[in-house]
């Protein structure tokens, strides 16, 4: 027996409302998961970058130490080189002054420049010329001056002048041996 003239429509649990609900929550959950995955990825990326940065920092620190050592060494080299150059220049000036000191009437035959003194061998016309023209300036430079004379064949005098500065006036061994 029929109660209706139309055929019954099929009923489904997946109605329009349910579909709407599922779509809405799918989008919401999708966004939440994407955010979660993004955070996980960024965390991993931060940790990985921080490891790299720690390694870079250690390398930089080590390189800085190396370079500081190199700088210190170059400064030491520069200091020593300047000391040597100054020493050579002072030596040159000392020798220039020494030869300028000797008057034309006195002839030197030998000069020994020591660390603490000067020994001169030469010939002078007489003692006065030596005393006034050579010994006087030598006395103004050195603290101790010893002179000895012996006659030359032409009537002039050979002289030996030993001059020392005060910090060590004891005669160097090589000079003592010669005496």
């Amino acid at each position: 027996m029929k109660y209706s003239y139309i055929a019954p429509r099929k009923k489904s649990a997946f109605t329009t409302e349910v579909q709407l609900l599922v779509i809405f929550f799918s989008i919401t959950l999708g966004m939440l998961f994407i955010t979660y995955l993004f955070l996980i990825f960024k965390d991993y990326s931060f940790l990985s970058d921080m490891d790299d940065m720690s390694a870079t920092q250690s390398e930089l620190a080590s390189s800085i130490e190396d370079m500081k050592e190199q700088i210190a060494f170059i400064e030491k080299e520069n200091l020593l080189a300047q000391k040597v150059y100054t020493q050579n220049t002072v030596l040159k000036d000392s020798i220039t002054n020494l030869f300028d000191l000797v008057p034309q009437r006195i002839t030197l035959s030998e000069a020994k420049l020591l660390e603490n003194g000067l020994v001169l061998y030469g010939i002078t016309p007489n003692k006065d010329v030596y005393n006034f023209m050579l010994q006087a300036p030598l006395r103004s430079i050195f603290h101790e001056t010893y002179s000895s004379f012996y006659p030359a064949q032409n009537g002039w005098l050979y002289f030996v002048s030993k001059n020392y500065v005060e910090d060590d006036i004891s005669l160097p061994k090589e000079i003592e041996d010669e005496d």
Partner: protein, 183 residues
């Protein structure tokens, strides 16, 4: 009063509640703690980045200073690393002397980061001026050389015989350089 709710609505509400609870649970239990961790890590990362940049800037400054020093003192650095070559020395300085003889190099001290060698020199010069020129030239030579006391000048006819000791300074190859001084 009787509330009449259809089964369809109850079904809909159940699904809604289920999704809502899931979203809330996921957010509070997982997403928010992860977000906090992310913020902490980001702050730590920025701190670390700042520190690395500070190191990098300092590194750049030190490197610049080193390069400036190296370029300013190129001659000195090369001279300290140079191998002392007697023949080359004689060739370079023979113009100042009528004759120039050098003894064998002798290692005298190994102080700090430098090694010094001594070489005895005997020579003949025509005038003291040659010796002054030699002292000027020594300061510009390929090695770091100091002329040491005692220095002897002895007249020999028209020539002056001179003898002196030279000290050659080198950087210690074990500590600073791979080069070595050879005789």
């Amino acid at each position: 009063m009787k509330i009449n709710i259809s089964r369809q609505h109850i079904y809909l509400l159940s699904i809604l509640m289920f999704f809502l609870i899931f979203v809330l649970l996921f957010s509070f239990a997982v997403l928010i703690p992860e977000g906090k961790e992310y913020r902490e890590n980001r702050a730590e990362f920025k701190k670390e980045l700042k520190e690395v940049r500070r190191y990098q800037n300092f590194y750049d400054e030190v490197e610049l200073k080193l390069k400036e020093l190296q370029s300013e003192n190129r001659h000195i650095i090369t001279a300290f690393d140079a191998t002392f070559d007697q023949r080359r020395f004689q060739k370079q300085h023979r113009d100042y002397f009528s004759s120039l003889k050098l003894s064998e190099l002798e290692k005298v001290s190994n102080e700090d980061e430098f090694i010094s060698y001594e070489v005895n020199t005997t020579s003949e010069i025509s005038s003291p001026k040659s010796f002054y020129n030699f002292l000027d030239a020594v300061n510009k030579s390929d090695w770091i050389i100091s002329v040491e006391f005692p220095i002897n000048f002895k007249r020999d006819g028209e020539m002056i015989k001179s003898s002196f000791t030279m000290k050659v300074f080198c950087a210690d190859s074990d500590k600073n350089s791979t080069k070595k001084v050879t005789e």
